[in-house]
């Protein structure tokens, strides 16, 4: 499907409207941002440069947004293909805004509302039939750049064309995860999410747990965001939480758990005192005058410093490597924490199941809404599968809870999980028809987990696998056993990549995609191993390890068939070095890339310097000479800059200008495979470069002068200076390069490997590595 939306109008330049316009600009699409006055519209636009986290991939994107007023610029509406309304949540105002612009709309234009609380049916009532066909709800979550969820709601009148245009635009152009919702209060995400939060709050008060205890249990340990329950409430704003909750309470009359949405005493008490969370700097949490974090006591309604939380179930869960094991541990302990966790979990699972068919006919949309809108690693039905539907249902019944009939019916039919995957397909249980249905495949999404069940794994090693993507394209998938979210490099990555390249060399396969579907692409080298070798002074072994990494990167570069890498999220250090030699990179827009070795007292050693040199010299950057190009690379690596988006990674020289950036990370593997197939045609192995003209000693002396200046200003330490000089030595081409002398690729590789190993022997570098391993942040020494 081609994108039919070339220009957009966003009505309402408040936080949501402006940020949606911002994200539309991230996709390279122009928009008009309307408000009642020019001042408001301008302000909405300007706010995009101030908001944190940044709504824009690149501050320049803002130029695609034109602030407009309804009075002055209403005729411009005729240019746009989609109008998104994000004005205040008042029906009469929305209707009057619609009436004002309707006469100016293009015949084919689609009008959607970002409402979260007003029923679709009320919005369409006053519209003509023709307009009703082109009207629907598109509900974004805040912040729209980062939240994957986009809930779509259609009326009976909405045409398929309208709906499908928005599905395509939302998914492919804006990169969102589409959830098909019904016209019910708070749709899916906020209905279940707020139920979960309110249940967590009510039960916490009842069981006399503290704010920090609840957050410890309902945070990352259970596959939920860091902000867990109470910090999420503070971030959202307690008044907002109250409003959303009351919407369900007031409108969902037949909800058997309606009372859960009543506002708990503590929440009202906080709101009354204007303790609204982050925006007023106090809510469930507050920093006292000494900067020490306090939390509210539910009974006394006063703040107390946080206490260390200890739960046996937490300790056991922490010992589990992956979330499913953690979830099971949290539910199966016999301490207070476990009892609480199970209770919240059980109630949320039952509530979710009871919402079918009210808010969704299937379980998939509910799971997706919670994953994409609330950052849950597993949706309610996936979580239930993890806990065991049979066992946990029995426990619920024993607790005196009512398990929804359709769940029991599923079990009675001999089906014990909501989802099943095998032979490359996935099925899910359909509660409406009480049958198993095949999950519809989206041609742009290759789900590796499901794909592999079709006997597509050629080789599986501890932390990486070699998969067959079909059409002669291989996939190297990382699944670190050491760190299942950060995926640091270990020897199994290297081995599997080499295996794949062997097969390409033999002609068994034509190309390869390096990519996977974990939380982060790769956070870099295995620091533990590095530290161990350094402390034991096993320099030969370290040199060999670095050489092995260099060799595999060069093998990727000179592979007989194209290699396409598909990074996303954190891609640091060695992770960058693995992708940079690829023929082409298809990056998710949300890729945070950086050669950050300086933070641990090193410089890139596994070919990162060579890649930065090649990227710098090859990019056509106007009148910049070799010195300036290298100076830029020097600053990027020297300051360990991490790009805040893939677009910025291009600017910093980590990616090349012609690398592909896509907004939907679920499309990565498929897009990378397609790119590999495209490159297979007429593929030419790149030429080994022996013509690298680098600034040499003269340029290096200039860089070193600048470093000394930083040292004198107190901006860098003596050790930073030492590292900087090493980096300058490598990037300027050591002793052989100069403005009239060329060096080759291997020479740079030898320089960087040598510098890496030498620095690893420095005690101050080892201190940095130890600190990073212990605290997860860089030490300045």
């Amino acid at each position: 499907m081609n994108n039919k939306i070339k220009k957009v109008a966003v009505l309402g330049s408040g936080v949501m409207g402006a940020q949606i316009a911002g994200h539309i600009s991230n996709a390279g699409i122009e928009s008009y941002l309307y408000d009642t006055t020019q001042e408001l519209a301008n302000q909405g636009k300007e706010n995009l440069l101030k908001l944190k986290p940044a709504p824009l991939y690149n501050s320049k994107n803002i130029d695609l947004i034109t602030p407009c007023t309804y009075d002055k610029d209403i005729e411009k509406i005729k240019d746009v293909d989609w109008i998104l309304e994000a004005v205040v949540e008042k029906l009469d105002i929305k209707i009057s805004v619609y009436n004002n612009l309707l006469p100016h709309l293009k015949e084919s234009a689609i009008l959607t509302s970002n409402t979260s609380g007003i029923p679709l049916i009320d919005l369409t009532e006053s519209l003509s039939k023709n307009m009703q066909e082109r009207f629907m709800i598109t509900h974004f979550f805040n912040p729209p750049r980062y939240m994957q969820l986009l809930e779509l709601v259609r009326s009976e009148m909405t045409t398929d064309e309208t709906y499908n245009t928005m599905v395509h635009f939302g998914e492919t152009i804006l990169g969102k995860g589409i959830v098909h919702a019904k016209d019910t209060p708070n749709f899916i995400g906020n209905r279940i999410g707020v139920f979960g939060m309110m249940t967590a709050i009510n039960l916490a008060v009842e069981s006399r747990l503290t704010v920090e205890e609840v957050d410890k249990l309902t945070g990352p340990i259970s596959g939920r965001p860091k902000s867990a329950t109470f910090r999420t409430a503070d971030v959202v704003g307690l008044d907002t939480l109250k409003n959303v909750s009351l919407t369900t309470y007031e409108k969902a009359h037949n909800d058997e758990q309606r009372n859960v949405f009543k506002i708990p005493k503590i929440l009202d008490a906080l709101i009354e005192k204007k303790r609204l969370g982050q925006k007023t700097k106090e809510g469930f949490y507050k920093k006292d005058e000494n900067g020490i974090l306090n939390s509210i006591n539910f009974e006394t309604e006063s703040y107390k410093p946080l206490k260390t939380v200890r739960f046996d179930c937490f300790r056991v869960a922490k010992g589990q490597q992956k979330t499913p094991g953690k979830l099971t541990s949290l539910c199966s302990g016999d301490d207070k924490g476990s009892k609480y966790f199970w209770e919240v979990m059980a109630r949320t699972l039952i509530y979710s199941a009871n919402r079918i068919p009210e808010i969704s006919d299937d379980i998939i949309n509910i799971d997706n809404a919670m994953k994409w809108g609330f950052g849950w690693e597993y949706g309610p039905f996936e979580s239930w599968d993890i806990l065991g539907v049979k066992e946990s249902s029995e426990r619920m019944i024993a607790d005196g809870k009512k398990v929804p009939d359709w769940v029991l019916r599923m079990l009675s039919k001999g089906r014990e999980t909501f989802y099943e995957s095998n032979a490359g397909f996935s099925t899910y249980w359909c509660p409406i028809n009480s049958i198993s249905k095949t999950v519809q495949t989206n041609e742009k999404i290759i789900n590796l987990k499901i794909h592999k069940t079709g006997n597509k794994t050629i080789k599986r090693d501890l932390s990486a696998s070699l998969n067959d993507l079909g059409d002669g394209i291989l996939n190297v998938e990382f699944h670190s056993i050491l760190q299942p979210t950060l995926h640091p490099i270990d020897s199994s990555y290297i081995e599997i990549i080499n295996n794949g390249l062997d097969l390409i060399e033999k002609g068994t396969y034509k190309g390869m995609v390096i990519g996977h579907q974990g939380a982060n692409f790769c956070a870099g080298a295995n620091l533990n191993l590095l530290l161990e070798l350094s402390i034991n002074e096993e320099w030969d072994a370290l040199n060999f390890a670095v050489k092995t990494m260099q060799d595999v990167t060069q093998r990727i570069r000179f592979s007989k068939g194209p290699v396409v890498a598909a990074p996303f999220q954190l891609t640091l250090g060695g992770g960058v070095e693995i992708i940079q030699p690829a023929t082409h990179i298809v990056a998710a827009s949300e890729t945070y890339m950086g050669l950050v070795e300086v933070g641990v007292g090193l410089i890139p050693g596994g070919s990162g310097n060579l890649r930065m040199v090649l990227n710098a010299l090859d990019e056509n950057t106007g009148r910049m000479g070799a010195f300036q190009k290298i100076q830029k690379a020097f600053e990027t690596v020297g300051f360990a800059k991490i790009a805040t988006s893939a677009e910025e990674a291009k600017k910093l020289g980590y990616l090349k200008k012609d690398d592909t950036i896509i907004l939907n990370k679920d499309h990565l593997i498929h897009t990378a495979k397609m790119k590999a197939l495209e490159l297979v045609e007429d593929y030419k192995v790149p030429t080994y470069r022996n013509d690298l003209r680098l600034p040499g000693k003269g340029g290096r002396t200039a860089l070193n002068m600048a470093l000394k200046g930083f040292k004198m200003q107190g901006k860098i330490s003596a050790h930073d200076l030492k590292i900087g000089e090493k980096l300058a030595y490598v990037l300027t081409g050591g002793d052989k390069a100069g403005l009239t002398k060329s060096v080759d690729e291997q020479y740079i590789l030898d320089l960087e490997r040598d510098a890496f190993v030498t620095l690893a022997g420095e005690p101050l570098t080892q201190d940095r590595i130890k600190y990073m391993l212990k605290k997860g942040k860089p030490l300045r020494n």
Binding site: R623, M624, G625, A626, F627, Q628, P695, G696, K697, G698, G699, T701, A702, N704, M705, G709, M712, Q713, G714, L739
Partner: protein, 376 residues
């Protein structure tokens, strides 16, 4: 021997970072002031201008390709006018003036223009492709300018407070000059590609004292020099019309001043800011003058510490120096500053109705340069 005289001198307003001049090509900027200069001298047939010598500290990029000849063409001077570019870093355009003046005095030419330009925003200090000699680096030849000034502050026992008072005074004098029209005669207003016109210097302001006191040292961690006590990065151009005395008389040109003496001197590059001291000593000796004979001084303010070091060490009379403020307030576009201070000096001499003036400046790499003028 012919005498060299200054007929007129002009400059552009000096633009600062994010200001209204940033983005204007340095050759376009310079051409506008040459046109302005000649407009003020209608008696002079441009065909008689033999040479146009321009100073520029980093003559590359938009300042490259022998910018003076380019400026000459852009300003509509005839092809018979020759051109050369002089580089003596901060002293470049004063050196250009020395060269034109010397040529006239030895009879090589009769009429020339000497000036200078620097756009510090489009060409970085150090140029686009610095390539340093390691041995020179070992000898600190490439030492940062701020660091040299810190050394002088230390050796001259010049406190941060004294430097801040000096900087404040520079701004106050410049603001006063601005509001009393004391720059009006020297500034040619500049057209920015038809988008807007720039008429005055962007630097002078009433500094926020609180902010000034809280600034971190700019060059050395526990140093005394801050951004507020250093001359800001800037863009500007200046030019002077110089002829022989006889030529001026023959063509009915009004002489503003005689160029009485010129000098350059080398010093320790690690203390480059002291350059005006030996340069001044030399020029006074050659002109048979003493400091007492000098009525007015334009001392380029690279750094407050550097200027104070010169003033204190030479026991110069502060009341004679930089009556209309200096480079700390106005900006120091390197190649422009030499003839900029000459231009300002001429105007101050007229405003104060005095006879003898001295313009002097320090130069990175360890030099000083000085010029003595005598009003006609």
């Amino acid at each position: 021997m012919p005498k060299s005289v200054i007929i007129d001198a002009v400059r552009s307003p000096i633009g600062l970072k994010n200001g209204q001049l940033v983005g204007l090509r340095p050759d376009d900027l310079s051409a506008q002031i040459i046109i302005g200069l000649l407009k003020r001298t209608p008696n002079l047939d441009p065909k008689l201008i033999e040479d146009l010598i321009f100073g520029c500290a980093f003559p590359e990029g938009p300042q490259g390709m022998l910018i003076s000849k380019g400026i000459s063409i852009l300003a509509g001077l005839p092809e018979t006018t020759a051109g050369s570019v002089v580089n003596r870093f901060c002293g470049s355009s004063m050196d250009a003036l020395h060269q034109v003046s010397s040529k006239i005095e030895c009879g090589d030419i009769e009429v020339g223009i000497a000036g200078g330009v620097e756009d510090m925003f489009s060409v970085p200090m150090g140029g686009f492709n610095p390539d340093f000699h390691p041995d020179l680096a070992d000898q600190e030849y490439y030492i940062g300018m701020g660091e040299t000034a810190e050394t002088l502050a230390l050796e001259g026992k010049i406190s941060r407070q004294e430097q801040e008072d000096f900087a404040l005074n520079s701004h106050e004098k410049a603001l006063h000059a601005q509001s009393n029209g004391h720059f009006d005669n020297e500034i040619i207003s500049i057209d920015y590609y038809g988008e807007h016109t720039v008429e005055k210097d962007e630097g002078p302001r009433s500094p926020d004292l609180e902010k000034m006191k809280n600034l971190s040292p700019a060059f050395i961690e526990h140093g005394s020099i801050t951004a507020a006590t250093s001359s800001p990065i800037s863009i500007g151009a200046s030019a002077t019309l110089i002829t022989s005395e006889d030529f001026a008389k023959d063509h009915g040109l009004k002489i503003k001043a005689y160029i009485k003496g010129r000098s350059v001197a080398g010093v320790d590059w690690r203390r480059m800011g002291m350059g005006p001291l030996p340069a001044t000593e030399k020029v006074l000796k050659r002109t048979n003058l003493t400091m007492k004979d000098i009525d007015i001084i334009e001392l380029n303010e690279a750094f407050a510490a550097q200027a104070l070091y010169v003033i204190n060490s030479g026991s110069w009379d502060k009341s004679k120096i930089n009556k209309n403020g200096g480079s700390i307030a106005l900006g120091h576009p390197l190649g422009c500053s030499g003839t900029r201070i000459i231009t300002t000096l001429l105007n101050v001499m007229e405003q104060q109705d005095v006879k003898t003036g001295l313009a002097t400046m320090c130069i990175g790499t360890g030099q000083g340069i000085a010029t003595v003028l005598e009003r006609a």
